[in-house]
């Protein structure tokens, strides 16, 4: 089931009241929610349910074993546990990729590549729930949490709002909420409606329009477009993938709120990031935190000198790229971001060595007599924040570095990505009929929205929450109508389901 569909709406109109009717009977609530989540997942393919049940049983046994053992036995079990999850994920997601790559290698060595190629159905959401299961086993190993009751763990792994496309909620974030009694008088309805409404608008209207207006064609046959059109197409893809993915997780967070659960935020206006490091604190936050805590730190993190640190960073980002899909283009995308961050760290260190305490250098305030000079703020870690001009330059630089990465992310192959990049340079001055006013306006407005102040958004929600509920209901219905009229017929595929 996809969120923006009639089937899901019907499903949710059953799950919501039944869920709240059962709020005072935790076990009944869990059994019901687990069954509902399996229906939701099985709607794609009944076999998926067998997979998630197997993953649930396997990881629950592992977590219990880890909890009961100590010393070297414990480490071994953890290793087995990690391997169990990665092999499952690898089998469904990467088998074809590795066989293909091995065949290519054998072919190039002149040994002929005839390894059998399995056609495996990729279960949606497997990347997401496998990472959730891993966080559970590793948190038990680290002593952050105790193993949960099997039913609780099963609900955590299968809970339908975040099952297929995140956010990646950790066991330590979810299980305590499951143990607490649900409070039927403390529902954050307004925030839920705002999140669902905004998410649907981003996904159904903005992302679909941009894909259709320029992105799909520019990436399918860049040779037919001018440099300006390709550049606008790349910007449009940056907005499209943000609107699509953040829109979907907004809906997920909103739906969870209606059921009485709070999920961590997953996106925080990523295109206003001043550096790549900042970008990853704002983009798919639940994944980047996961990678930091379970992969980067496990590799040794910052310990062991600059070289080791750089290596760990690069490896983490490459694996993060590979997590998105079984293709070299994702590996390159991850490696690019790894190199960006390594370069940023070295640049910052070099500036520090020159005695500049402000990352990003000094701020001279331009020629306006210092009117735009901002008072440097002291950050929590004692580093002085950069000035305004540095921040603006940093934002422009970061956005374009991210866009360069998106070209590899979106293109079907390395060659296709290079074609797009080449086209950015060789056809300036050609006519650009694809760059229409409404397209430019949509991109500009979407980028401007990345700079909406957080405090204003929060205040707006708090004002809305004080409107009579019937006004909120009517407003939400009218908003859905606008989305319905402006969106395409039928449901566009969701980009992140490939992952």
């Amino acid at each position: 089931m996809l969120f923006p569909t009639f089937v899901f709406a019907t499903f949710f109109l059953i799950v919501l009241p039944v869920g709240w009717l059962l709020h005072s009977r935790p076990t009944a609530w869990k059994v019901f929610m687990l069954a509902a989540s399996y229906v939701f997942y099985g709607w794609w393919d009944v076999r998926f349910v067998a997979l998630i049940v197997a993953s649930t049983i396997g990881n629950q046994i592992l977590a219990d074993l880890v909890h009961r053992s100590a010393g070297r036995t414990r480490s071994r079990i953890v290793t087995v546990g990690v391997a169990f999850n990665l092999v499952t994920l690898g089998f469904f997601k990467y088998a074809g990729f590795f066989v293909d790559s091995a065949n290519d290698t054998l072919e190039s060595l002149g040994v002929g590549g005839d390894l059998p190629l399995l056609s495996i159905v990729l279960p949606v959401g497997i990347s997401f729930f496998t990472f959730q299961a891993l966080s559970y086993v590793l948190d038990v190993h680290r002593g952050t949490i105790e193993p949960a009751r099997p039913l609780d763990f099963a609900v955590y792994l299968a809970f339908f709002p975040q099952l297929v496309a995140g956010p990646i909620v950790r066991a330590s974030e979810f299980l305590p909420q499951l143990e607490k009694r649900l409070n039927p008088r403390d529902i954050d309805l307004t925030r839920a409606l705002v999140l669902i409404g905004a998410g649907l608008f981003k996904k159904v209207v903005i992302a679909s329009y941009l894909a259709d207006a320029i992105v799909d064609d520019v990436f399918a046959f860049p040779e037919r477009f001018s440099s300006l059109e390709v550049l606008v197409g790349v910007y449009a893809y940056a907005i499209q993938i943000y609107a699509d993915f953040s829109g979907y997780t907004d809906i997920a967070i909103g739906i969870a709120l209606l059921l009485g659960f709070r999920f961590p935020p997953n996106f925080d206006r990523p295109y206003q990031a001043v550096s790549i490091r900042d970008f990853w604190r704002r983009w798919h936050m639940t994944l980047s935190r996961w990678l930091r805590d379970y992969l980067y730190i496990s590799l040794g993190g910052n310990r062991g000198g600059a070289h080791r640190r750089d290596r760990n960073l690069l490896l983490t980002m490459v694996l993060g790229g590979l997590w998105h899909g079984a293709a070299w283009t994702f590996v390159i995308w991850g490696a690019l971001h790894g190199f960006y961050m390594i370069a940023e760290r070295h640049a910052e260190k070099a500036r520090m060595a020159l005695g500049d305490r402000r990352p990003g250098g000094s701020d001279h305030g331009g020629d306006s007599g210092g009117a735009v000079r901002t008072v440097a703020e002291t950050r929590a870690d004692g580093i002085v924040a950069p000035g305004l001009r540095t921040r603006i330059l940093g934002r422009i630089r970061t956005f374009h570095l991210v866009c360069l990465g998106w070209i590899f992310f979106r293109a079907g192959s390395f060659d296709a990505a290079l074609n797009v990049i080449e086209r950015l340079f060789v056809a300036w001055g050609d006519a650009s009929p694809a760059v229409t006013g409404i397209l430019v306006w949509t991109i500009a407005a979407s980028l401007a929205a990345q700079y909406l102040p957080r405090v204003g958004l929060t205040n707006l929600q708090s004002d809305l929450s004080r409107l009579p509920v019937w006004v909120q209901a009517v407003g939400f219905a009218l908003w859905l109508l606008v989305i319905d009229r402006l969106g395409p017929e039928g449901v566009a595929p969701f980009i992140y389901f490939q992952f």
């Binding site: 190629l117 330590s172 309805l189 064609d217 935020p265 405090v455 019937w470």
Partner: protein, 386 residues
């Protein structure tokens, strides 16, 4: 632009939620109880259903033919009547007007088939008095070139050899010579298969000689005009875009039951095949335009054996209907996608040509189709310097 002082340049996401979002606001948000939440959700959904009842009718129409669709359609149409009676459909119309979404114009297919244009570019052909009425009660005009009407409309024509086209004395029916100054306007349309195929054609054709118009319509075809009426859509393309060539591909969505004249026809039955053939014939006749060529792409084998057999049955219809119409060239791509045993194959020449669903083409597969199409188009039209 002033930045928000209270917000450090880099914020650490606080694990466990958005408390920091909370603390920024003037005052906390009001909370709601479960009963109100459920009531608001239901009320909002009910109101949305009333406001966009037209979309719900469309949604119900898109379902597969069967009793579920009947119930859904009955309910949606009932709701739509209620909504219209009380003016609930007005906001949708206002939004459509603001967004510039007009109702698509309806065309008289008989007028357009054979080269008539409603805008009076060319005189409409006068229907011959003795034209056989087609089953739907319309008369088919005499085509500029081609078979007699009774051949075009008989549901099951006996297989005959392709008649040699009589060259027309009408100079306007000469295909244009393609040059860089007068590139070929090439329309590619059909179901979701044509998304990749259109891209492949756009990549395979010379940039300076061919201007593609790509029109893939997901989940559409000739079986379900209730969802998307392709003849009407193509009439609009003929009138508004005036392509020199059409590349058409239907079938992948068409192997399903449909309803015609109030009766349900099971896919693949003789009655079903006869009506489907009629629809193919109507579409082909519509595309008989002066100085225009039509390339009709057949279906490749599919991974599912049942679907594959269906596609071969449809290919037979496309092939035989195209054979009696000189303006149509049938392009059989099945051999180019058949594995060593002649059946479906994921890979051809060691490259993946079909997507995971066993239906759609990969980029590589689409490029293959594009090259086949361009070869045929380039031999049909005179290409300057080619």
């Amino acid at each position: 632009m002033r930045t928000d002082r209270r917000q450090p340049a880099v914020t650490r996401p606080s694990p466990g939620g958005d408390e920091d979002w909370e603390s920024l606001g003037r005052r906390p948000r009001a909370r709601t109880n479960a009963a109100t939440t459920i009531a608001v959700t239901f009320a909002a959904m009910a109101l949305t259903a009333l406001l966009s009842s037209g979309s719900l009718v469309g949604l119900a129409q898109r379902q597969e033919i069967g009793w579920q669709r009947d119930i859904a359609l009955e309910a949606a149409e009932g709701l739509d009547r209620v909504a219209s009676a009380f003016g609930f459909d007005r906001p949708a119309r206002w939004i459509d007007q603001l967004a510039g979404r007009d109702e698509p114009e309806t065309f008289d297919l008989d007028l357009i088939a054979g080269g008539g244009r409603p805008d009076g570019d060319t005189p409409a052909p006068t229907p011959t008095p003795d034209a056989d009425p087609t089953p739907d009660g319309t008369t088919s005009p005499t085509p500029t070139v081609g078979p007699t009407p009774d051949e075009t409309t008989s549901p099951t024509p006996t297989p005959t050899a392709t008649p040699t086209p009589q060259p027309t004395p009408d100079a306007s029916d000469q295909l244009p010579v393609i040059t860089a100054d007068r590139p070929l306007v090439l329309y590619v349309g059909g179901d979701s298969m044509t998304r990749e195929v259109g891209n492949g054609v756009a990549r395979a054709t010379p940039i300076d000689l061919v201007t593609p118009i790509l029109d893939p319509q997901v989940s559409s075809g000739l079986s379900r005009p209730d969802f998307l009426d392709w003849p009407q859509r193509l009439a609009g393309v003929i009138v508004n875009d005036e392509p020199d060539a059409f590349v058409i591909m239907f079938g992948a969505n068409d192997w399903q039951d449909f309803e015609a004249d109030g009766e349900i026809y099971q896919r693949g039955t003789p009655g079903w095949l006869a009506i489907y053939r009629e629809r193919v014939a109507t579409t082909m006749d519509l595309l008989d335009q002066p100085a225009t060529a039509v390339f009709w792409i057949g279906q490749p084998a599919m991974r599912s054996a049942g679907l594959s057999d269906g596609m071969m049955a449809l290919n037979e219809i496309y092939r035989s209907e195209a054979a009696t119409r000189p303006w149509i060239t049938f392009i059989d791509i099945a051999p180019a996608f058949a594995g060593p045993d002649g059946n479906y194959s994921d890979d051809i020449d060691g490259q993946r040509v079909r997507q995971d669903d066993g239906i759609h083409f990969t980029t590589t597969g689409a490029d293959r189709v594009g090259r086949i199409v361009w070869d045929v188009v380039a031999t049909t039209f005179a290409v300057a310097g080619g």
